[in-house]
């Protein structure tokens, strides 16, 4: 049962890596599996930066530091502050499964790769696009005080750095907002529109 989006207020994990491509978010060897188990992909999230070749946690990596290592739960680490051009490269939705499987509900960046952005939305993880200034301010705030919180108001489409009071609105079309707030999928929408598709095909003479 997916949780519906409303207002999220949480501490954050700062992953200050620009061009954090989907090969980084989940290495290719996890792509050969046919499972849909979120936990499996969640454990692989950022794997090769989180663990060394022997499988030991890399202590210096942000997700392993004591102040950020707690697994996400309500109000804790539900939000990632990401670097520029988040999710570039491969179209693998496994990257979105890894983020969702880890327990993250929102990724904030100043820019997302197009395919990954759609994948996040389809996996009910909200990509929030902010200005470069706000992105840098959020990194600063969260690194200075890991307990500081960010508020993401989906109905109002605003994101607020509660430590500074700095707030911005973020883009989200009305259709997708409705989907996120009601747990509604694109595939459901398309299946409800079958008749329209069939009519379109017959107008084009292209059903075959």
């Amino acid at each position: 049962m997916r949780e519906k989006f409303d207002i999220i207020q949480s501490t954050c994990i700062p992953i200050e890596i620009d061009n954090n491509n989907t090969d980084n978010i989940i290495p290719a060897r996890y792509l050969a599996f046919t499972t849909r188990d979120p936990k499996f992909y969640g454990e692989a999230f950022m794997h090769d930066l989180r663990y060394d070749a022997e499988g030991r946690p890399v202590e210096s990596f942000v997700m392993n530091r004591p102040e950020y290592s707690e697994a996400p739960r309500k109000g804790v680490h539900e939000i990632i502050i990401g670097g520029q051009n988040w999710g570039s490269g491969s179209s693998r939705e496994h990257a979105a499964w890894a983020i969702a499987g880890y327990g993250v509900r929102v990724v904030i960046s100043n820019s997302f790769a197009d395919i990954h952005r759609n994948n996040l939305l389809n996996c009910f993880v909200l990509p929030v696009t902010v200005s470069r200034e706000m992105q840098l301010e959020l990194f600063e705030t969260v690194k200075a005080d890991p307990q500081s919180q960010v508020l993401v108001d989906v109905p109002g489409q605003t994101v607020t750095n509660l430590a500074t009071g700095h707030s911005e609105s973020f883009p989200l079309n009305g259709y997708k907002k409705y989907c996120l707030m009601n747990g509604f999928d694109d595939i459901d929408f398309l299946l409800d529109n079958k008749q329209r598709i069939i009519e379109w095909e017959s107008r084009q003479g292209t059903s075959r």
Binding site: D18, N19, N21, D23, N24, P27, A28, R29, L31, A32, F33, T34, R36, D48, A53, Q84, N85, S88, G89, S90, S91, R92, E93, H94, A96, S111, F112, A113, D114, I115, N118, N119, N122, C123, N173, G174, Y175, K176, D185, D186, I187, F189, L190, L191, N193, K194, R196, I197, W200, E201, Q204, T206, S207, R208
Partner: protein
Amino acid sequence: MGKTLFDKIWDKHVVQNVEDGPTQLYIDRLYAHEVTSPQAFDTLRDKGIRAFRPQKVVAMPDHNTPSDQQERIDDPVGRRQVETLKNNCEEFGIRHFDMGTHDNGIIHVVGPEKGLSLPGMTIVCGDSHTSTHGAVGAIAMGIGTSEVAQVLASQCILQSKPRTMRINIEGELQRGVVAKDVALYIMARMTTSGATGYAVEYAGSTVRNMSMEGRLTLSNLSIEMGSRAGIIAPDETTFEYLKGREYAPKGRDWDAAVEEWRLLRSDEDAVFDKEVTFRAEDIAPRITYGTNPGAGIAVDGTVPAMDEMSEAEQVQLRDMLEYMQFEPGQRLEGHPVDYIFLGACTNGRIEDFRAFASVVKGRKKADGVVAWLVPGSWQVRDQIVAEGLDKVLEEAGFEVRLPSCSSCLAMNPDKVPAGKLAISTSNRNFVGRQGPGARTILASPLTVAASAITGVITDPRKM
């Protein structure tokens, strides 16, 4: 106001514009490979539905396929994934080109060469290099697995329309410079996110003079600057390439199709959201030095020096060079390489093998260099044999392997060991892309061939 080519094809496929939302776009062709489709078929089973238009879907395994033999896959996980695709295709009535059959190959090589990708189409696949098919004059985009399920279920996806960008490349390419170098040059100029949010059209005299294979390479790499789609207006080169292909229209249908396809071009007065122009004469053979495809230089150039950049760029450069074991300001020409790879959906076509063979003919592969030459499809492999290129390559100490994604990404046995340096015709030099700890330099088939002979990074103009 006139329309861009992208707009023309897009508009023709709009089923509806959702109020305050995306466009519901009709898809003419879905390609499915083994990696990004299993969970999509699961979704259909969960919902108890069939594929809506199975005849518009074509599937084949390519990522897990070994290139040394294709009797079996030793890794049980990869084997299961390939078997899953085959079973799903049987269950849902989808055309499937099985591993080891002469229909098989890398999906982005097979689609155009079989005439399954045609001008004016909308094409999607759960693979970011789907942009490749844009070279025939189609809207072709990579999608995620949820979207694969959507297309299987409804032959549609919901997409926001990207902005349009035209990239003009004008003039004649220098000797030793090919489409791959053009793409690597543009990427370095545009950065890896410079075309995010845009659909790119490639135009200009350099593109018009490119072969179909070259155009496919150019479109293939669109995603490496963030653009999901890289489209090229179809012309005589396109029609010549497609004519007689297995699934291309035949006879009177062909004539009618070509007549329609000739209209597929941006209007003279079409306005793009962004337009940039590059000069072919500025482009030298290219190599990458870092861990994203935009981190590139001329083969005889030097790695950027720290003092040229901002603090954030310095951090990124330091990380990249630490992984690559290079220094700021270093000249890479003459640097020893351990592995060379010719292949992938970027450069696994017949022209790439001809180019490679033209350089190594009458020479010998450097001792100690491991070479993987992997055709992009069985059709390419059969053509290599028919033209006798396999003999030329064999005499030079190279072996032509079996069609596969091979060493482009570490999902089959062709993995570059940790710490080893590979010069490769593939599309990504990401950390660990060719194997955990492997270091990758991207280059053209000519540059890779020259380096295979000398054992060091080599400017093909000097061969």
